[in-house]
């Protein structure tokens, strides 16, 4: 029994990391209609930016702010100077996916040239251990869960209670109509890339902390789980991505406890396939992107 309690706790940490990343990813798709396969690489770039800052003696938690800024800036640039021009030319969704894949490869290889193929690890104090009925969490892991909760609440507040959030939802639902109603959709899209890029940057750092170390190759691995969580919850739905992250995080860890660990991803992705068969639009999708946001 203790093992399952422990797995539950570990699942919450995994879910927290996945949720931060998946919400950013799914908002990019929901509002800007862009499946950004370079998302994992942007995460790793930000993780390395923070690592360099951390090497200068600055606390990794403080450097998280730098990661958010780096992620926001890189994502903004990526959209403004690469994705947006193609979208204006009318490149279809598959074409845009290929372009983002190319961006991903370019980022990974440029980064490889700069940082090399080795791994990096933050110098971060894990703090004391919380032990309860088999649950074992470090202070750093609890901090990751708290950061994820705060960010999810912030996204909820943004989408529900601010003019910007309403503008985002309107842009997601029908950009032409939104523009005709006087919403500056281009500016909204820029802000979306900044916000989701910030989430991406934070996700890169907490993923690096969660794994203890990371390398250029880690980006591709993160992306698969992020996409799975986003699709499971309903593509383009931030709340769906949160639920998808929770399910994938918990299922992978609990199945590792129940059966052999090599099957934990099989189980998680099996559930994803099952949901797709029974409810192809995902768990929370109703109509159009961000519909569940209300």
């Amino acid at each position: 029994m203790e093992l399952y309690v422990a797995a539950l706790g570990f699942g919450l940490i995994s879910a927290s990391v996945i949720a931060i990343a998946a919400v950013g990813f799914t908002m990019q798709f929901g509002i800007t209609n862009m499946i950004n396969l370079a998302y994992g690489e942007v995460m790793i770039v930000c993780a390395y930016v923070t690592w360099y800052v951390n090497q200068l003696g600055i606390n990794a938690w403080t450097a998280l702010i730098g990661a958010a800024i780096a992620g926001a800036a890189l994502s903004f640039v990526l959209n403004r100077f690469l994705y947006a021009p193609f979208q204006r030319k009318g490149t279809n969704l598959i074409g845009m996916v290929i372009i983002s894949l190319a961006a991903s490869l370019m980022l990974a290889n440029v980064l490889l040239g700069i940082v090399g193929y080795g791994t990096a690890a933050y110098e971060v104090d894990q703090g004391g251990l919380l032990r309860w009925n088999g649950l074992v969490l470090t202070a750093a892991q609890i901090a990751i869960i708290v950061i994820a909760l705060l960010l999810m609440l912030a996204i909820h507040g943004l989408l529900r209670y601010t003019r910007l959030g309403k503008a985002m939802r309107a842009t997601a639902a029908n950009p032409t109509l939104a523009r005709n109603c006087g919403i500056p959709t281009q500016r909204v899209i820029d802000v979306v890339w900044l916000i989701t890029g910030g989430l991406c940057g934070v996700a890169g750092v907490v993923a690096g902390m969660n794994s203890e170390n990371f390398s250029v190759a880690s980006g591709a691995g993160y992306l698969i789980t992020i996409i799975a969580a986003a699709v499971l919850g309903g593509a383009g739905q931030p709340y769906g991505a949160m639920i998808g992250a929770l399910i994938i995080g918990l299922v992978t860890e609990l199945s590792a406890a129940a059966i052999a660990p090599e099957y934990k991803e099989v189980v998680a992705f099996g559930i994803l396939v099952l949901v797709m068969v029974l409810r192809p639009q995902g768990l929370l999708a109703k109509r159009g992107a961000l519909a569940a946001a209300g």
Binding site: L3, A6, A7, F10, I13, S14, V17, A108, N109, L112, Y117, G118, T119, A120, A121, Q126, L129, G134, V136, T138, A207, N210, S211, E212, N213, S215, V216, A217, S218, G221, Y222, T225, E253, L254, A256, A257, A260, P261, E262, K264, E265
Partner: protein
């Protein structure tokens, strides 16, 4: 436009000169593959290995060996005057990427004298391609399918993974500075390459009456292994046998974290004797815990003598000549040493056969490695060429020591028990006797 006879002749005469010049130059620059003479123009060694992806650390260590070998060969005048260079071809550690990489390497380089690398990630797919193309190769794969390889151009200077597994068990049972371990955990990746260790290890441990406390196949590159580690700790092993390239830092850190700050002793495969692996695990658990708990098995390299001195000297030169290669980091690392020797042997085989045709010089590689009766022992390319020019048969005893290829082009040299010092340098702490090794191999049912 009409062309009259006179202007046509002038035109053909003018055109003929550059065409002739191009043909002459092409003849000079291209690789001769007629089987007679060494030809002219530069030669290339392809380093076909992962340079990106989860196993990205493999490629650079092979490339360092190639750089050192090329400098040794070129410094001695080249192969019949032909200079050797190295080029990396990234397989990304994936068979699907390795096939186009191998094909484009072959199609784009008619001057390919040999290939090194071909790890377990891609060997199954690229070895047949290289063999069909008659390209001698030295592969760093331990897969058992190559234990009795029929590929004529395939060479392996590393033992099968099953022997690594036996050596690790030998280390657990007979290693210095600890009592024989009684409860052994096996933690390997869930990929085919990693799992080749597990079957022989379980068979041997069972037959020897040692308890397999837990046998975990983990997914390499996962973000965390906390639940797996919780299960491992419940099984209370005395020691962990592992490789987990790319994930060892994450796994061992979680062991330490959940085990009240205490690390369980862990024994690594020969692939863990690697600066990247060292840094990753030290970053995760700290140097004192690493030094106190880590041991590994490695091939019994001599790492001394004229052959090794030449290797170190050329590796030092490569480090300076190719900034960013960090070639010196790989001093004493068995893959780098072995592939260096492989390239030198290939070069000497070309000189001995006086041919740049692989069909002619490939059989000479094993002849030079194993030696024939009365052969003169040489330790460097330069000495080898001098002896060959003097009409002597040679045996190359290189940086790694003697080679003894069997009929399947496999050469093995036994195992050392090793650890690493604070700088990541390999330190030999013991070796397995012939009897101890045989006991484990017999228990595991052979290779």
């Amino acid at each position: 436009m009409s062309v009259n006879g006179g202007s046509w002749r002038r035109l053909t005469a003018r055109a003929a000169m550059p065409v002739l010049a191009i043909l002459v130059l092409a003849g000079c620059g291209g690789s001769s593959s007629t089987g007679g003479g060494l030809g002219s123009g530069p030669l290339l060694v392809g380093v076909l290995a992962p340079f990106s992806g989860a196993d990205a650390s493999f490629g650079p260590r092979y490339l360092a060996g190639c750089y050192a070998a090329s400098l040794s060969i070129n410094g001695a005048g080249g192969i019949g005057g032909r200079q050797v260079s190295c080029q990396q071809f990234d397989t990304k550690g994936e068979p699907a990427d390795a096939v186009p990489a191998a094909n484009s390497m072959i199609a784009g380089n008619s001057n390919l004298m040999g290939v090194v690398g071909c790890t377990s990630d891609e060997a199954s797919t690229v070895v047949p391609i290289l063999d069909r193309s008659h390209i001698p190769m030295f592969c760093m794969t331990g897969q058992s399918e190559f234990n009795k390889s029929t590929a004529k151009y395939f060479h392996r200077l590393v033992p099968a993974d099953s022997y690594d597994a036996y050596a690790m068990i030998g280390s657990a049972l007979f290693g210095p500075n600890h009592a024989p371990y009684k409860r052994i955990a096996l933690v390997f990746g869930d990929d085919i390459g990693s799992q080749t260790f597990v079957g022989p290890a379980v068979a041997a441990l069972t037959k020897l009456g040692v308890t397999v406390a837990i046998n975990q196949a983990i997914h390499l590159g996962a973000a965390s292994y906390r639940t797996e580690v919780a299960k491992l700790l419940q099984a209370t092993p005395d020691v962990i046998l592992t490789e987990t390239i790319g994930s060892a830092g994450t796994y061992m850190k979680e062991v330490k974290q959940q085990n009240g700050g205490k690390v369980i002793p862990f024994i690594g495969t020969s692939a863990t004797i690697d600066p990247v692996w060292f840094k990753q695990v030290v970053d995760a658990i700290g140097l004192p815990d690493f030094l106190a708990n880590y041991t590994a098995v490695d091939l019994k390299l001599t790492l001394q003598g004229a052959g090794y001195d030449e290797f170190v000297s050329q590796l030092t030169a490569a480090d300076a000549k190719y900034p960013g290669s960090n070639a010196l980091t790989y001093k004493g690392k068995s893959p780098t040493v072995h592939l260096y020797d492989g390239i030198i042997m290939t070069a000497l085989a070309m000189v001995a056969a006086n041919s740049s045709d692989p069909v002619v010089y490939n059989p000479k590689i094993i002849e030079i490695a194993n030696g024939v009766s009365g052969a003169t022992v040489v330790n460097t390319f330069k000495d080898g060429v001098a002896a060959l020019k003097a009409g002597k048969a040679i045996r190359y005893v290189g940086a790694a020591g003697e080679n003894n290829f069997n009929q399947y082009n496999n050469s093995q040299q036994g195992y050392n028990l090793v650890t690493m010092d604070k700088d990541g340098n390999e330190v030999v702490i013991g070796s397995l006797t012939e009897a101890q090794t045989q006991q484990v191999i017999d228990a595991g049912g052979g290779a």
